[in-house]
């Protein structure tokens, strides 16, 4: 009896102690609360595997009431949202390559006249098929949905009072879809370049997040700071080796992508190298900032994980970016992985140039500068 009571008392004391320590470790506690919450919100509200309202450009060489009805019908499918009106093919091409739109609908000149003559002309729809998940269901919706709705609106009601068998008649026009960049809809072509960004994010963050915390934990930071070395010099010295590690990893993944998964290299490899360097530096700066915030190595790892989660879910790595609500897209724009994914997919699969990627290059550079300034400022206060 005494044995059982004694055992319960000791277990009680142990439980009590564990709870006190748990509540005192703020970061662990925050991780426990925020990770499930974050997942719930992101999976529940932000992620959509059959994305709608995808950005679409219309290159209209023919402006008529018929083309307007067709465009209205396209938007009515809810899969498309007409966001751009390029004036020529070069501009349309740029929009597609830079990832600003997922579809370009081209209405050829004299389209309405051709329909009236019963020539059944074609509408050309170019799709960015790098992410098959994003484009497939939208393309499938195009043909039947749009055709039926246009036919009902214009031919049944206006032009066919005689009630002839128009339902069975050949379609007045047809969609010619052109899935670009990944015509066979191979998911690996989209995932493997994305993995390059994801793996780099994870490893670069962990390495640097631990590097300063480790010195603080072991007490070597105080000695280091008491030496005639500047905080910025410490930071550069700590980050530089990992730039090389990151470059090595990138080369490895890229080699495997080409050799094992037949990922094409359409664009400029030199541009990809430079931008990968920028991306590695950005992640290292963010990891360095974490390491100045964390009290110990465990906290640094937890912070990295909390940061990694939205990067994976919102960047467009796992789920189509265009399918997310605007607020989630704005959050994603502040994450380096979002910009890098567009760069790496754009260069490898679409042959995007630095002009196509200008917005993302600027975005990533801004994130890097902010992270670096915070890292250096935070580091200065390490002791004070």
């Amino acid at each position: 009896m005494n044995g059982v009571a004694g055992s319960l008392r000791r277990i009680g004391a142990m439980i009590r102690k564990e709870f006190i320590q748990l509540m005192r470790d703020r970061v662990s506690f925050a991780a426990m609360v925020s990770i499930p919450l974050l997942q719930l919100i992101l999976f529940g509200y932000a992620i959509n595997t059959t994305p709608r309202h995808l950005p679409t450009a219309v290159l209209a060489y023919d402006q008529s009431s018929l083309t307007r009805s067709i465009l209205a019908a396209i938007e009515n499918t809810k899969y498309f949202s007409i966001t751009h009106h390029p004036v020529n093919e070069a501009e349309a091409e740029h929009l597609l390559r830079s990832g600003q739109v997922l579809f370009v609908v081209e209405i050829p000149a004299g389209f309405e006249r051709a329909v009236r003559r019963g020539e059944s002309p074609s509408l050309l729809v170019s799709a960015d098929a790098t992410d098959p998940v994003a484009s497939t269901s939208a393309l499938a919706a195009l043909g039947r949905l749009v055709e039926t709705s246009v036919r009902r609106e214009r031919f049944n009601v206006d032009d066919a009072p005689e009630g002839s068998g128009l339902e069975q008649a050949p379609p007045p026009f047809e969609f010619r879809t052109h899935p670009r960049y990944n015509p066979a809809a191979v998911t690996q072509l989209n995932i493997v370049p994305g993995l390059l960004g994801t793996i780099l994010t994870m490893t670069m963050l962990i390495f640097t997040a631990l590097s300063v915390t480790r010195e603080i934990e072991r007490g070597t930071m105080e000695t280091l700071l008491a030496m005639p070395i500047r905080p910025a010099e410490i930071m550069v010295g700590k980050i530089a080796p990992y730039v090389m590690v990151g470059a090595m990893q990138a080369a490895m993944i890229l080699g495997a992508a080409v050799l094992l998964f037949d990922v094409p290299v359409v664009g400029n490899l030199a541009l990809l190298t430079v931008l990968t360097g920028l991306f590695i530096l950005t992640n290292l700066s963010i990891g360095y900032t974490f390491s100045t915030l964390a009290q110990n190595q465990l906290q640094a790892v937890q912070m990295t994980f909390m940061y990694f989660l939205p990067n994976i879910l919102l960047s467009g790595f796992m789920f189509p970016f265009a399918g997310m609500p605007t607020w989630a897209q704005w959050i994603a724009e502040t994450l380096p992985l979002t910009h890098y994914l567009r760069m790496v997919r754009g260069i490898l699969l679409k042959g995007a140039t630095s002009a196509d990627l200008a917005q993302n290059i600027i975005g990533l550079s801004v994130i890097m500068l902010v992270a670096m300034v915070i890292a250096v400022k935070r580091f200065r206060q390490t002791l004070d």
Partner: protein, 326 residues
């Protein structure tokens, strides 16, 4: 070893000399707070070049914070001063080039070898031939044959030796040693102090914080700090004389009970049991003698006048300063 401190003490006793002496540390009114907690209050101190200056005080009294302010690791909230003639507020980096700071905790890289640690330090300080300097330091530390061993695998005494060796490798003019002998065995401590005196003899100024009274007595001058305030400063003899304490030693059966009894007697400010006797003291001589007179009838007690030691003085100082801050 005892001849040298006496010589310096004699010089420092002459007040007129102070202006002419070159100070390695000369700071006035240093204050530092962390949040609402004021750790150092208006601390002023001067340390002459080539001296060993003992820095004493209870745990949490602000010793480490003061040392960190001296080498520019922390910026004081108030106050100013110079370290090796350079401004501690604006020339931190230049100061650090000539200061060796040994932290309380062993803080070389445990996962680097002895040689790698020493070479790293030599390179950071810009010592001309880092490899040769490290090799030389290994020989003078007596670590030959162990230079490939990881620093973390060394025993406590060797770690401390290596830490000091790393500190003096860049040939600093000032050494700041924060409790360097904590947890080190008596033999290693003695060797350590012999080395400190050799360094001072070579002109290096040493500021060393410690809890050990015997170590305080090896210093040329000492300062006592409690609750962030400097309470006493000078040679050991000056500090003891300045305390104006009068001491008696009483021997009798059950000294613990006697000590409890003595504590309640007005006029007795200090009671410390020492083995079979009790050390009793107070600053008011007549009050103390009146208090002792009450025990005259107790024949089992043997009273002898005594002189205060450094520990008595510090306990008295801390008792009085605690009253001020409560």
């Amino acid at each position: 070893m005892s001849a040298r401190p006496e010589h310096v003490e004699a010089a420092s006793l002459e007040p007129g000399l102070a202006r002419d002496v070159d100070y390695a540390i000369d700071v006035q009114g240093l204050s530092k707070s962390f949040g609402i907690n004021q750790v150092v209050r208006k601390l002023s101190m001067r340390v002459k070049r080539g001296q060993i200056y003992g820095f004493l005080g209870p745990n949490g009294s602000g010793k480490t914070t003061t040392i960190r302010m001296l080498c520019g690791l922390l910026t004081p909230d108030e106050g100013r001063g110079t370290c090796l003639g350079m401004d501690i507020l604006t020339q931190g980096r230049a100061i650090r080039r000539h200061v060796g700071y040994m932290t309380q905790k062993f803080s070389l890289y445990a996962d680097l070898s002895v040689r790698e640690n020493l070479e790293f330090i030599a390179r950071i300080y810009g010592v001309p031939d880092a490899e040769a300097a490290a090799a030389e330091a290994i020989v003078s530390l007596g670590l030959e044959g162990r230079e490939r061993q990881l620093a973390g695998d060394l025993s406590g005494g060797w770690k401390q030796r290596l830490a000091l060796g790393a500190c003096i490798l860049p040939k600093p003019q000032l050494l700041l040693l924060d409790e360097p002998t904590a947890g080190v065995d008596p033999k290693a401590r003695r060797e350590f102090w012999a080395q400190i005196h050799d360094l001072a003899g070579a002109g290096v100024t040493v500021l060393v914080s410690t809890h050990y009274m015997d170590e305080a007595e090896r210093c040329h001058e000492i300062a006592y700090i409690a609750y962030g305030e400097l309470l006493a400063q000078g040679t050991v003899e000056e500090v003891i004389a300045g305390s104006a304490l009068h001491m008696w030693r009483v021997t009798g059966p059950d000294p613990a009970a006697l000590a409890r009894e003595l504590m309640e007697v007005p006029g007795i400010e200090l009671v410390a049991p020492f083995g079979t006797s009790v050390h009793v003291g107070g600053r008011d001589r007549t009050a103390l003698e009146l208090a002792i007179a009450r025990f005259a009838a107790r024949e089992e007690l043997v009273w002898r006048p005594d002189s205060p030691n450094l520990e008595d003085v510090f306990i008295d100082l801390i008792n009085r300063s605690r009253d001020n801050f409560r």
